[in-house]
């Protein structure tokens, strides 16, 4: 089982913990009990590098509770280099779109009270 704690520990090392189907090899980011591709129940953990490029993002100026002190910040979606998967997370100190053109290289650097942390490379 992919737990939040295991995922967070890997994120702190710059890695992404995924689940790989033992039958067809399909990668899953989230906790699934059956393979989305083939329906198989068996998985093995696969740790991949947390590097990639930014697919899209927003800069939040009206935040949910707990994020007031970080405004403005970005929530980003990143393509991972080493798989077909994408991952999203929190990116600090992005004030305008000029700070983050689409395609910017980025990497996972941690996990804390702000969630999965992604930084520019």
């Amino acid at each position: 089982m992919l737990t939040k704690e295991e995922f967070a520990n890997n994120a702190k090392l710059g890695k992404v913990l995924t689940r790989k189907c033992t039958k067809c090899g399909h990668h899953h980011l989230v906790t699934t009990y059956f393979c989305q591709n083939c329906g198989n129940k068996g998985f093995e953990n696969a740790v991949i590098d947390g590097k990639g490029s930014i697919v899209t993002y927003t800069i939040i100026t009206v935040p949910p509770d707990g994020y007031e002190e970080y405004v403005p910040y970005a929530w980003v979606v990143m393509n991972l280099d080493d798989s077909e998967l994408r991952i999203s997370g929190f990116m600090a100190d992005i004030k305008s779109p000029a700070d983050l053109p689409l395609g910017t290289r980025a990497r996972i650097t941690g996990y804390d009270q702000r969630g999965i942390i992604i930084e520019k490379q």
């Binding site: 939040k4 989230v30 939040i60 929530w75």
Partner: protein, 384 residues
Amino acid sequence: MEKVCLIGAGSTKYGKLEDSITDIALQASVDAIESAGIGPKEIQAGYISNVFGIADKQVHLGPVIMSNLGIPEVPSLSIESACGSGSVSFREAYANVAAGFYDVVLATGVEKVTHTGTEWTTTYFSYCSDFFYEGGAGASFPGLFASMARAYLAEFKATEEDLAMVAVKNHDNGLLNPKAHLRKKITIDDVMKSAVVASPLKLYDCCPFSDGGSAVILCSEKFAKAHTKNYVEVIGSGRGGSPAALQGRDHITTIPSTRIAAQAAYKMAGISPKDVDFAEVHDCFTIAELVDTEDLGFFEKGKAVEAVREGRTKLNGDISINPSGGLKSKGHPIGATGIGQVAEVFDQLTGKAGDRTVKDAKIGLTHNFGATGASCAVHIFKSV
């Protein structure tokens, strides 16, 4: 399966309402019952959609509503599917009448949140996302749709002014709707100058947080025919799902659940998108209307923006999109919205839509989803 018909619809005004969640739901329900010209004792089941009853200290709304309608013995189901609760609930009501379990049912949707303030609603609405990856990493709902918008603008060479045109159109329609929340004419300039909520979306790209209730009466064709000449037939019903998180989707600018639900509904109805005269679609943010109208098959991918620029989606354009004003102007009481769309279609197809009537309309479609489209229902209606 039995043919299913609509014989009545009702809504409160959408906006900031003083009444309790129960009273709002009851006002809409009574309105629908009276519109149908039936008595409460003819109702055999209730389907009640709501998300944040907890904000007004009343969950398990079904039995409370049925009791206050004087029919406490009638079974009810309280349904939550985020912003798509209303359409998902309507589907359950439809399916139970189609299956022959009941002849007449009430579907009521309600929401009451404006008293909680923007921070509460922003925070609690974010719980409708895939929280570990989205809300729990600082994404608000405007932020999730803003991420879709940035990808769309880049992929299809559209501009923020193009998004603004959707808001301007829906406000024009909402001006003609006495029950709309934001009845105010706006310009592209107003949208562009409004405060940024989540770049690239600005305040006027976003629907409001609204209170409100809507209700409809569904029944078997046999009951409808015996009862009235002014009814509407439900000819298509489809549902679909999407990966809960945006990161899990192949294309950020496509909502899979819309496509799946629409295909199922078109197939059941035996029609194609070009046969639809008007549609009430889920425009929680301006970008959503562009994505929706493409995923529903009205326009090719990336082409909705041209249609908006050319005015083809205006009231009585090629296809009238959101004649009610949509979520953007009519308002978005999230548990009620999907039912409110059906009420709008009922009014349009029975000659009760007043100044916002879509001329010569025979076929209307409703499209309503939960969160960023993780859950979706599409329904198609035909006048008789």
